[in-house]
């Protein structure tokens, strides 16, 4: 192991996360369920508290001071999101409840109104249910056909098969950037370029990439990109849709109500300009401000630094998991430096069912996910009923990986010794 004088990132940020300073079942909490949701730093909690204590008012409505402050903070957070993903304009950022709602927005406002019988939508077998069900709705309603990219032998996006699916019939490619189960990083820039050659639109589900790696929507050149705030240190109830300006302009509204209007008559209305056209009703103001605070926090650390530290953790996680012969990990191996995949491992451990494993690890203070991780079709494709998943973030330490591995070994042993 290389000797280094620099403190690991986690040791520098650890104190920012109050929830991590507790014991679970008498053991220090080891939180390894970050792909489900991340923990929140004090800076985000303080932003929520300060908003409600000092600035709470409805946005875009009043002329009084509080309303103006709330509006500034809410819209200021939008600027932060725009900069975070390098959008060309702040009008390209639409707040949503989460990524699921953002995908539904595109499915209803664009898909239902644009697609016709025989048009093709390309998805992958690794999609989260949130990037599957809305397109099933669209296919059922419009007669569009769903096509699926499968996996290579290393359990990654099969690019060649993808190319063979593309045709003039392809109208949409909607694909996850980083799989929440396989941990593979899909080549979204190349996927987008290939789709655009056929005039197809591209939506990227960035839920598992936005929290971990730098994002640049102009470089990817995707038409839409969605993410959830709660996986990137922000509160629940806030996410966003990025969309190219011309495309968002051409799309009819999704939900109707206050805020999204220009002129309203009893029998008709005209709609607000972007981004408000897609934000009906009083929004999640505090949560949006919290998202802005989370982005400030992540940006102050640096997304490059977060990505590099997570590579180190990934290399160590895979090295340690390799010590347990019963463990079978899904998805691609990391490169020697830990890059090339996400800092998570979905696995099975011999005869120990993932639920039993999760209960046993919980007794050791270790929180992991067990089940199908909202990717039932992928589990079916892999011919496994459920998996256990340890997913890391920049506040996790090597020592925590050690605790996890020790508990995992004991669990395998606990089940194994009885049967030999």
């Amino acid at each position: 192991m290389a000797f280094t004088t620099a403190k690991p990132l986690a040791h520098l940020v650890r104190a920012d996360f109050p929830i991590l300073q507790q014991q679970i079942n008498g053991k220090p909490l080891v939180y390894l369920d970050n792909a489900a949701t991340s923990q929140k730093p004090t800076a985000v909690l303080e932003a929520l508290r300060s908003y409600y204590e000092l600035d709470n008012a409805n946005v875009h409505r009043g002329v009084h001071t509080l309303s103006s402050r709330a509006t500034d903070a809410y819209e200021g957070a939008r600027d932060k999101v725009a900069a975070f993903v390098n959008a060309a304009s702040r009008q390209e950022i639409i707040y949503t409840r989460n990524a699921s709602e953002a995908i539904n927005l595109v499915a209803y406002a664009w898909g239902m109104n644009t697609l016709q019988a025989g048009d093709e939508i390309i998805l992958t077998v690794m999609e989260h249910h949130s990037n599957l069900i809305p397109w099933q709705f669209v296919a059922q309603r419009t007669g569009a056909v769903l096509k699926f990219v499968e996996l290579t032998e290393t359990e990654e996006f099969d690019f060649e098969q993808y190319l063979s699916l593309l045709s003039d019939k392809t109208k949409l490619v909607s694909v996850v950037h980083v799989s929440n189960t396989l941990g593979c990083i899909n080549p979204v820039k190349e996927i987008t370029a290939a789709a655009h050659r056929y005039g197809a639109r591209v939506l990227i589900d960035a839920c598992q990439s936005a929290p971990h790696i730098p994002l640049d929507v102009q470089d990817i050149d995707c038409d839409w990109l969605v993410a959830s705030g709660h996986k990137m240190c922000a509160p629940t109830g806030i996410g966003f849709l990025y969309g190219k300006l011309a495309l968002l302009r051409a799309m009819p509204p999704f939900l109707g109500g206050g805020e999204m209007i220009a002129d309203v008559f009893l029998d008709q209305a005209t709609y607000a300009d972007l981004p408000h056209k897609f934000e009906a009703g009083t929004p999640a103001i505090a949560e949006a401000i919290g998202l802005g605070a989370a982005i400030d926090y992540l940006s102050a650390i640096g997304m490059d630094k977060i990505a590099n530290y997570e590579h180190e953790l990934t290399a160590y996680l895979f090295e340690r998991l390799a010590e347990i012969p019963e463990v079978r990990i899904y998805g691609p191996r990391p490169k020697a430096d830990g890059s090339g995949r996400a800092a998570l491992a979905s696995f099975t451990a011999g005869d120990v069912h993932p639920h039993d494993l999760s209960t046993i690890l919980d007794q050791a203070g270790v929180a992991i996910r067990a089940g199908h991780h909202c990717t039932q079709p992928l589990h079916r494709y892999l011919k496994v009923q459920s998996t256990a998943r340890a997913s890391l973030y920049f506040y996790n330490t090597r020592e925590e990986i050690d605790v996890f591995i020790q508990a995992l070994k004991e669990a395998v042993e606990f089940f194994g010794t009885l049967f030999g």
Partner: protein
């Protein structure tokens, strides 16, 4: 790791039944068939029941499916306990099992083997695992036809 807690939950009988179930399979004939499913975790169970000619007594119960040690052991122990019970007795036992999961009841001496599941009541998130097979059996017994539509969802 607090192995003591775990030994309460994963008693030897549970682990044995998980690894070497005695009542896996299908009854012959199949007088009742019912599927059960835990959507949040993906556990599935398929129960088949063989009833006597009058249809008021259980001759045999078998299960197939996939799930954790708690779910599978619960199914195997239930199948064993149900052999020869009247449908009325069986429904009473299903209720008692649910009460036991709430920490409110336990089985008498004759069915003491089922009491090894008591530890589950200390792990609230796992109660669903243990009760899936019991809910599924209730639906199978209450159905008037051999093959009811749909499945029991334990949510």
């Amino acid at each position: 790791m607090s192995l003591d807690n775990l030994r309460d939950l994963y008693q030897q009988v549970i682990l044995e039944r998980y690894k070497k179930p005695r009542y896996r399979g299908k009854t012959d004939p199949v007088d009742r068939y019912q599927k059960g499913h835990n959507p949040s975790c993906g556990d599935t169970i398929e129960l088949t029941v063989h009833l006597n000619e009058a249809g008021d007594r259980i001759e045999d119960v078998r299960f197939e499916g996939e799930g954790c040690a708690i779910a599978m052991a619960s199914a195997d122990l239930m199948a064993e306990a149900m052999r020869g019970r009247s449908v009325e007795e069986a429904l009473g036992m299903i209720q008692r099992f649910q009460n036991m999961m709430q920490g409110k009841d336990e089985f008498p001496h004759e069915f003491r083997k089922l009491n090894v599941m008591q530890g589950v009541s200390q792990f609230p998130v796992r109660i669903k695992c243990a009760t899936l097979t019991w809910h599924t059996l209730r639906a199978a017994l209450e159905a008037a036809t051999p093959q009811p539509a749909g499945f029991v969802s334990n949510e």
